[in-house]
């Protein structure tokens, strides 16, 4: 198994370099010059400020100086090489926007994104698995029909729309005043509050974003769970178990559930990258300062170092997630072994 993992890890390397190379090429091929954008396009900032032609030369000089500072005046292959070399020392460079290290900017926002996504991931599983089991054990009963209908309905409702509706109707505009309309803390929030007070405030702010972020996933996953269960219920070994005289409860929870969970567990690993780069839309709607929002703003501002960092961490996590799901498979399914494969 160890050699297998090593093998896989080594195979990650060329894939990873390929991914970053493509990302780098796309970013730099996309039109839009970060220097001009920083200068307010030379248009917005200039307005009627009356720069003379001589000063216009000054703007050009300024743009050139700015590009030189960030190494944007060098040929692209050289820029990529420099970026790759810095990556080896985990150095992502400085953001164009405020000249702060990219790494610290991401690290600052990471806990918020992880909080949001972990909570909603737990919500998804906690809700979806029991619902899936119920639907599978009572196929085509009224309760199953209702959950099926609801699942399809929820799955079809776009989260940006539901999010906006929730803000308008539940957050104290002209209707109910139950939740805050965005942000992570209340106006008067202070670090001198007691731990419980702070926790409650945070939880209150995360309620709606977590709900909106998770309903789609939970609707989908409960379907997944249901079909996986149904597939196994019809298997011969279930028949055998029942014939042995085991109680229905034992059959479902011991035999069917364990086998149906296999695809669900592997699904979890593929959700890993989403934890970091995932919730762009929800973060934008609820004004949550997470990594998704950072990436989105960086793309608009052509802030290359940040875009590259997010484009590096995302694929890396995907690759690791795939590896992890393969390893998890062997843990939940003893029929799969690595030694068998390598032999």
């Amino acid at each position: 198994m160890f050699t297998y993992i090593l093998q896989r890890l080594l195979l990650l390397l060329p894939t990873f370099i390929g991914v970053t190379l493509i990302a780098f090429a796309i970013i730099h091929l996309a039109p839009g010059d970060p220097a001009e954008l920083r200068a307010g396009g030379g248009l917005g900032a200039a307005g009627a400020e009356g720069l003379s032609s001589e000063r216009r030369g000054g703007v050009d000089q300024a743009l050139a100086a700015w590009r030189a500072q960030y190494g944007l005046d060098r040929p692209l292959p050289l820029q990529y090489w420099r970026w790759l070399r810095n990556l080896c020392t985990l150095e992502f460079g400085n953001s164009f926007k405020d000249n702060q290290p990219v790494w610290s900017k991401i690290a600052e926002r990471l806990p918020i994104t992880i909080q949001l996504n972990v909570v909603s991931l737990v919500m998804v599983y906690v809700m979806a698995i029991p619902l899936g089991i119920y639907s599978a054990t009572h196929p085509y009963a009224f309760g199953d029909q209702v959950t099926t209908f609801m699942a399809f309905l929820l799955f079809a409702l776009p989260s940006f729309w539901i999010g906006t509706l929730a803000i308008v109707f539940l957050c104290g505009g002209d209707f109910l005043d139950l939740f805050p309309p965005g942000g992570m803390t209340s106006v008067g929030y202070s670090s001198s509050w007691s731990f419980w007070q702070r926790l409650l405030d945070r939880a209150w702010h995360l309620c709606l974003p977590v709900l909106v972020l998770s309903y789609g996933g939970f609707a989908g996953l409960s379907r997944f769970m249901r079909s996986s269960m149904l597939e196994h219920i019809r298997q011969d070994y279930v028949q055998t178990a029942r014939a042995k005289g085991l109680s229905e409860r034992w059959v479902i929870y011991k035999h069917v559930l364990r086998n149906s969970l296999i695809p669900i567990v592997t699904l979890m690993a593929s959700i890993l990258p989403g934890l970091i780069s995932g919730s762009v839309i929800i973060e934008t709607i609820f004004s949550i300062p997470g990594v998704g929002l950072l990436a989105y703003e960086a793309v608009l501002a052509r802030d290359y170092p940040i875009i590259m960092a997010v484009f590096t961490i995302g694929p890396l996590l995907t690759l690791l997630g795939i590896l992890l799901s393969d390893i998890l498979l062997t843990l939940v399914d003893p029929r799969i072994t690595f030694s068998g494969r390598s032999a």
């Binding site: 001009e36 396009g41 743009l63 100086a65 926007k97 405020d98 942000g183 004004s287 703003e297 052509r302």
Partner: protein
Amino acid sequence: MWVRTRQEGERGQCWVVGLLLLCASLLPAQAADTPVTGDWLVSHMLSDPESLNPLTSNDAGSARILGSIFETLLDHHPQTLELRPHLATARPEISDDKLTYTFTMRRDVHFQDGKPLTGWDLLFSLKAIKNPWVNAPFLRVYYQSLVQAELVDDTTLRLVAKEPYFRNESTLGSFPVLPQHYYDPEGLLDTVSVAELVAMRPGDPVGEASPQAARARQFAERFNTNFARNPMGSGPYKFHSWKTGQEVVLQRDPNYWGIGQEGIDQAYIDQHTARVFNNTDAALVALKAGQLDAMSLTPIQHLKQTSGGRFDKQFAKHLYFAPSYTYIGWNNTHPIFSDPRVRQAMTYLTNRKQMVKTMLFDLGEVVDGPIYLFRPEYDKTLFSHPYDPQKALQLLGEAGWKDTDGDGILDKVIAGQKVPFRFEIKFNSGNEIRKSVALTVQDELKKHGIDANVRQLDWTIYLDDVRSHKFDAIILGWGMPATEPDEYQVWHSSQAENKGSNVIGFTNARADALLEEYRRTFDPQKRIELYREFQQILNQEQPYTFLFIQKSILAVERRFQNVNLYPGGPRSLEWWVLKAQQRYHELSQ
């Protein structure tokens, strides 16, 4: 958790009104007009400021926050927009050749840490701006004409400009003053003079090797990275905290040097909190829920979502014309649009009054020139082209455009080739008003045998096309300060090349002469006359079809007193709240 009911606020107000009536009867008019300190102002920001380094940040959000932390030698009177002394004791003495500007500064100013503000800090601030390694290239452009700066004595600063230009005074007097002991504790720039900094060229190996350059570079490296989130100046507000993507908090400095000083604006609100809501719908909900005290409204929000008694009871809406305008720019070098008669016809075919009514919901006004509507330079006697298709067709006919082949599209023989009247209007995606303008114009032109294509582009791509003149027609806007205009950059023929701002390639010898003369004229009345003539030329030539200026709308909680409107919009610095109506009683820790 912070939840408030609406009734509380209303009851509070009734109570205060009662109190006021009582006061009015007992003590002759006092309580209502005497500003008191206290309370918070929670306002809305769409996104974080870029950085709170006063020199390297380059966006409006940062400028708004830094404006109450840092001060300048001169500032503009909010109403008259005239220059007035702030850190200086008077406006500078200007030499006869208009090149030397001598400022004398106040002696009673200190920074927020209590240390006095001296002439050395003024000099240091200019050195930091002129330092070629400091990451402030776009600010430095404005100070390019500054070639020399020296202290005559502790409180007198002498600046020398490269060329006579009427705006030198305001530029040289409006740099933010930074405390040297805070931003350069090692005194790295002490021995480097402004003249030496002017001569330094980054990338030049000989220059970079000098010890002076080494010091300048060392300073810049620290300055660029270490001061993005901890500004300290001499202004009425102190920086308190910045939670990324959430809020920036400023608190009133109780030891501000200007407290009680005549001619210095006083601050009353104890804490300014700017909260980030990157979604205007959510921000409006937050405003209604009492979590925000002030925010800018979109026209739709103003008309449809904030009308009704409850909102009006809680908030006052202030409407003002922010200095800016929207226009259709015709590529003056394009074979079709190089003829001024065609451009005039286009303006006659643009129903601008209707646009203001249907697209802006009357929250705007038609403009006929590039100058802010409320400046004395704006020529109110300009001919305002009405919507007149007859006149337009006549002009097009005079210019040789007729439908000779009966295909329903006008054509003309240009340089031996028959050219149909077909072109493309570009604008940036995401701007609904510009989109409506494009579609309306397209529709109108179609009726008269002109085929206009409409194309929306991503902002960055659009900008590239605009600056490299790759367009037939564009829809764009200009923003500007409310202070003296200088239209040189937008209209002078020299600015058409080299990606300058004269993107439509307008050339007119008389206009060039007027623009040049204007910059050398120090008499304001004379300048107005020059710009009257300049606007007449534009009115004839119609290089742009000037469209309209839009109103900005700001909703402010009613507990704030003294909310006045100025040409540049309201100024929260002078707002205050009656003691009984104050909502927040403690400062953030």
